[in-house]
């Protein structure tokens, strides 16, 4: 068992994990892709003989479905604004946490991680209050400065931004941890050498820290992008996609079609579209990284 032939070694390391992933993730995905070409609903689920193959009809319907088109637009909006904000803010927090002394840093690490472990209902209640148009804290603060209240969740344009702010707040914790861990992989001696050369703090940041963190930045960017393309929880608990579908996301659309209305074929087709978008975005990122 112990002395493995070199060819079998990588197989041994990746084998168990890949096998489990294939059984419990890849096969279900393939099944879902298959379902997307059928009219499967609850009846079909109970009795497979009732399922009809409908070719690409679901896909044609999707691209004439106003709600779906709108949810694609909203999702792109979330991604374009949200991803850079989320990556940069967690990076900055990690850097700042690295500047202060041990005891303070340990305390702040816990504090900044708290949003990730706060119950979603508590989050919804507290943010619901912050955003409440008539009694909320944000509008109260604005009123002190004689600024008119903002319809945080009621105005179709502002509601998207409000949800982004909330999601960035919530997602920072995990990325921050990864950045903190990555900061440890930078050899101390590099900074020491830079100190000897009289480099300023900015120079050290730009010439040592940021390049050395590229592996972690890449990871955080890719996973954040995937996460934001699947943006779901915030509109689900705060707005249910409203007002007027302005906060509806692709993932929420899939949830509604597939699980509220039992249109599994249609929901699966929507998720294949989302899947394709995510793959394209990810491949693009890998290509960009390679070319660097």
């Amino acid at each position: 068992m112990y002395k493995l032939k070199s060819k079998a070694t990588p197989l041994f390391f990746i084998g168990p994990a890949v096998l489990l992933l294939v059984i419990f993730s890849v096969v279900p995905i393939l099944i879902s892709i298959g379902i997307s070409f059928t009219d499967m609903n609850l009846i079909g689920l109970a009795n497979w003989a009732q399922i009809k193959f409908v070719g690409i009809e679901n896909y044609i319907d999707l691209f004439t479905d106003k709600v779906f088109i709108k949810s694609i637009g909203n999702t792109l909006f979330y991604v374009i604004i949200g991803v850079p904000l989320a990556v940069i803010s967690s990076f900055v927090i990690a850097l700042l946490l690295n500047q202060i002394n041990k005891w303070l840093s340990a305390t702040f690490r816990i504090i900044y991680y708290m949003p990730s472990i706060t119950n979603i209902v508590a989050i919804a209640v507290v943010w619901g209050f912050l955003y409440n148009q008539d009694y909320g804290l944000f509008n109260y603060i604005l009123s002190v400065f004689h600024i008119d209240g903002v319809a945080w969740l009621e105005n179709p344009h502002i509601a998207k931004l409000s949800l982004i702010l909330m999601a960035v707040w919530k997602s920072n914790g995990v990325s921050m941890l990864i950045f903190l861990a990555a900061l440890q992989s930078i050899p101390r001696s590099q900074y020491e050498a830079a100190d000897i050369d009289g480099a300023s703090r900015w120079q050290k940041l730009i010439y040592i820290t940021i390049p050395a963190m590229s592996f972690a930045t890449f990871f955080v960017t890719v996973t954040t992008l995937i996460g934001w393309l699947q943006f779901f929880e915030e509109p689900f608990v705060m707005t249910e996609g409203g007002p007027l579908d302005s906060t509806n996301s692709m993932a929420l659309f899939i949830y509604q079609e597939g699980f509220q209305f039992n249109e599994f074929g249609y929901g699966a087709a929507a998720s294949v579209v989302l899947f394709a978008v995510i793959i394209l975005a990810t491949i693009l990122q890998f290509k960009l990284r390679k070319s660097e």
Binding site: V18, W127, S185
Partner: protein, 273 residues
């Protein structure tokens, strides 16, 4: 130089403190609200400190929760998830530090599994478990979530920072592959493993959907499922929900406090001056 450093640190601390208050507020509200009565919990404007503190919700929690069974099940899932973490780490190392045929292809397969929303694959996964006769078993609850592409990807990325010749040197010295993995790679990956342990623990500790879907018997339910059973159909009991959430978060905080120091371990010996 020293003075500038001092002011910089003070400024950083002030910024972090202000940000910290904003960030921690809902958490603090969650904890404090678990001691409020139902009337106060949703009052607008909200109160932070309970006016009439009560342990009522906690008492209700412990009276109605079949604590023993749910806790045991949750712990079993946590233990297996740590085994899953080992598999993830091995796979991440395999992808990061070995060259083999179709490596890119397999890695893309792994990444793909992150990209489809979980709900879509719920029913197919259940049917697979059913075919394997694993419904209503602990194995059926544990297996679908054992391996996570997120973790594999994270480890793989981290492996980039470990120099190849280090591993080669160990091989030349006759160290076996396992030996290298456990004695060289794992200690070097401590910071990222600490992150993984925290994330894996939280995932397993809160596991909800599979225990519910796979179990045909309440004896396989977890704490999360048990807590959600206390909710009424029509009226949300926020105080009780906050008490449940506060109770669930304690072990997470403990794990976090234990492992967060490994994330930055060693930093203070040679920290940035």
């Amino acid at each position: 130089m020293h003075a500038r450093n001092y002011w910089g640190k003070t400024l950083t601390t002030i910024i972090l403190t202000i940000g910290g208050i904003l960030v921690a507020l809902p958490f603090i509200w969650m904890i404090l609200s678990s001691f409020k009565d139902e009337k106060e919990v949703l009052s607008i404007p909200p109160t932070l400190i309970p006016k009439h503190p009560t342990f009522h919700h906690y008492i209700e929690l412990f009276q109605n929760l079949n604590f023993g069974t749910y806790f045991t099940n949750t712990l079993i899932i946590v233990v297996f998830s740590m085994f899953g973490l080992l598999l993830n780490t091995m796979a991440g190392y395999g992808f990061g530090k070995f060259h083999f045929k179709a490596k890119e292809f397999w890695f893309i397969i792994v990444l793909m599994t992150m990209m489809i929303p979980g709900q879509v694959s719920m029913i197919p996964t259940y049917l697979i478990l059913n075919k394997m006769a694993l419904t209503n078993t602990m194995a059926g609850i544990v297996l679908p979530g054992l391996v996570a592409a997120f973790n594999i990807f994270l480890i793989r990325q981290f492996m980039e920072t470990i120099p190849d010749d280090l591993i080669e040197a160990a091989r030349l010295d006759g160290a076996g592959e396992f030996y290298i993995f456990f004695r060289l790679i794992i200690p070097l990956s401590k910071p990222i493993l600490a992150v993984q342990i925290i994330l894996t623990f939280i995932g397993a500790w809160n596991s909800f959907l599979w225990p519910l879907i796979v179990a045909n018997d309440e004896s396989l339910y977890t704490l999360s499922v048990g807590l959600s059973l206390l909710q009424d159909e029509n009226v949300t009991n926020y105080g009780l929900q906050m008490a449940g959430a506060a109770f669930m978060v304690i072990p997470i905080l403990i794990i976090f406090i234990i492992f967060q120091k490994y994330i930055v371990e060693g930093f203070n010996f040679t920290g940035i001056k």
